[in-house]
Amino acid sequence: MTGTNPSHGPMAPPRPPVRTARPSVMQRAAAERTRTTIGRRRAINVVMVGITFAAALVATLPLIFILGHLVKAGASSINWDFFTQIPKPPGEAGGGMANAMVGTLVLILAASAFGLPIGIGAGLYLAENRGTHLANAVRFLSDVLNGLPSIVMGIFAWQFLVKPMGKFTALAGGIALGAMMIPLVTRTTEEMIRIVPVSLREAALALGYSRWRTSLIVVLRTALPGIVTGALVAVSRIAGETAPLLFTVLGNQFWSASLREPIAALPLQIFNFAISPYDQQHALAWAGALVLIGIVLIISLAARFATRSRFGRGGD
């Protein structure tokens, strides 16, 4: 037993200061110190909040400037024709980018068909086999692949797909874009599955679920909103990629939705029009850029919507 009075143990709250009729000199000095300390803390707080607010503002400025300029330069060229017509020959007025939009859609679908199953499967494998040498190697290589410059992916696809097939095809572009999606989807899938509590997995196993059924029906389904979000983020990232398309799909001035033919794509069309000498095509390029950003924005919104669970409760 220590010497302290048991009723005033070490954890007893400090007694409130007794209010005497007139504070002593010492008390007034202490109060003064407290006031200045608090004042300084308040000042620092205001400055810090101000700095972070300014940083937050600056972080959004580029997007605001870009959007503003795109609307100014491109909005006037957006009309019904833009969404329904194919490009006119250089120098002629009018025309649109309908074929490029269809092409981008086809490329996204092809890339998703190739990249999503592989990415989700690999993520599931990584999450279920944590700590094994193979999993660690796959995770590392996946991170390397994620940082691979897209132009390298394009050259790779050209070497191994375009050259053997003897022609530029939408398929080669889809595979190049899909390969870019794989590391992103793999990592988000792994992360989303990892945050599914172990207790949920155990509950399924204890009910007599087999391992694959537990993974597929309970774990994957619980992680699904997050995986869908990851997939949409990956799609929005590849939707605007240009470099992998330069060597694979080539571009196309006419209608084509075939995977075996060269195909038009929005980023490519923007690139081609932007470097052309005609003002009219420049305007169309701006409009195309605006539409491309719009598409990415819509996909991002869809990603946010997908995060909400089926029952309208926040996914926790």
Binding site: G131, P197, S199, L200, E202, A203, A204, L205, A206, L207, G208, Y209, S210, R213, V218, R221, T222, L224, S309, R310, F311, R313, D316
Partner: protein, 277 residues
């Protein structure tokens, strides 16, 4: 003896099930059971029997191996990497660790409920209860039969009146106590012979705890229940027999009344009188 054990009155069960010691046959039996995590031995040479229509409580301080012992009884222990089991566990005379016995089949007959409620968040209340039925393959009951089983399981856990109007809602919207009773209903729906409860009230408030205890008391009418608990009063309230474990070993296993009034081992006495743990 001066230290009167904490034996609170039984919950007000409608019919007190028969609990004559030794009257029921042995349903589950562990012989010389050892369980390891890597090289660490969590359960050491435990031999214990669980009788039909009885509630057996396993008590002991944290880390004494009581949960691990429980998880050996439905082969959940082996789902942890590096975990391994020696010795045998037999269910109705059949060794569940024998060659050719499928762990999945074992778990269908030996249900389990965990410390924290684990409703499947993507499923509705009804689908949660029916979750164990959906995997029965050819024996899967029809929709109408499933509805009937779900209703029955929810009634047994006294949850039916609270959720019957919102069976299609998310199970995550229920309170913690309701979620835990839902998990018990989910375990009951497949009609297991044995129900293992791993500290089922550890995360619940007193009212919910009482409801779960009443339920456990009722369940013994037609099954074997094994409950791991930190709470000695709870063991005294709901169980017919109590096992006391310490550092992986089974110290004492006898009728609950005897263990809490006249323990034969000094370590048991020290634990139940609160001298450690």
């Amino acid at each position: 003896m001066a230290t009167e054990p904490p034996r609170a009155p039984r919950p007000t069960a409608a019919v007190a099930p028969p609990a004559a010691a030794g009257a029921e046959r042995i349903r589950l039996e562990a012989r010389a059971l050892c369980a390891f995590f890597g090289s660490a031995e969590a359960v050491r040479d435990v031999s214990i029997t669980f009788r039909d229509r009885e509630v057996t409580a396993i008590i002991g301080p944290s880390g004494c191996g009581k949960s691990t012992l429980l998880r050996c009884l439905n082969r959940m222990h082996e789902t942890v990497p590096t975990a391994r089991v020696a010795g045998s566990v037999s269910l109705d005379g059949q060794d569940i660790y024998a060659r050719g016995i499928n762990a999945i089949e074992v778990r269908r007959h030996v249900g389990m409920v965990f410390q924290r409620p684990t409703p499947f968040p993507t499923m509705s209340i009804r689908d949660n209860v029916a979750a164990g039925l959906q995997i029965l393959g050819r024996d899967k009951p029809s929709r109408a039969e499933t509805d009937h089983i779900v209703e029955d399981a929810l009634k047994r856990t006294a949850l039916w009146d609270e959720v019957s109007t919102r069976l299609k809602d998310s199970a995550v919207g229920l309170s913690g106590g309701q979620q835990q009773r839902l998990c018990i209903a989910r375990a009951l729906a497949t009609r297991p012979a044995v129900l293992l409860l791993d500290e089922p009230t550890a995360s619940l408030d007193p009212i919910s705890t009482q409801k779960v205890e009443e339920l456990v008391y009722e369940l013994r009418r037609d099954m074997t229940v094994v409950i791991v608990t930190h709470n000695m009063q709870q063991a005294a309230r709901v169980s017919d027999r109590t096992a006391f474990m310490l550092t992986g070993e089974l110290v004492e296993f006898t009728a609950t009344n005897t263990l809490f009034t006249t323990p034969s081992d000094s370590r048991t006495e020290a634990y139940i009188t609160g001298r450690f743990g």
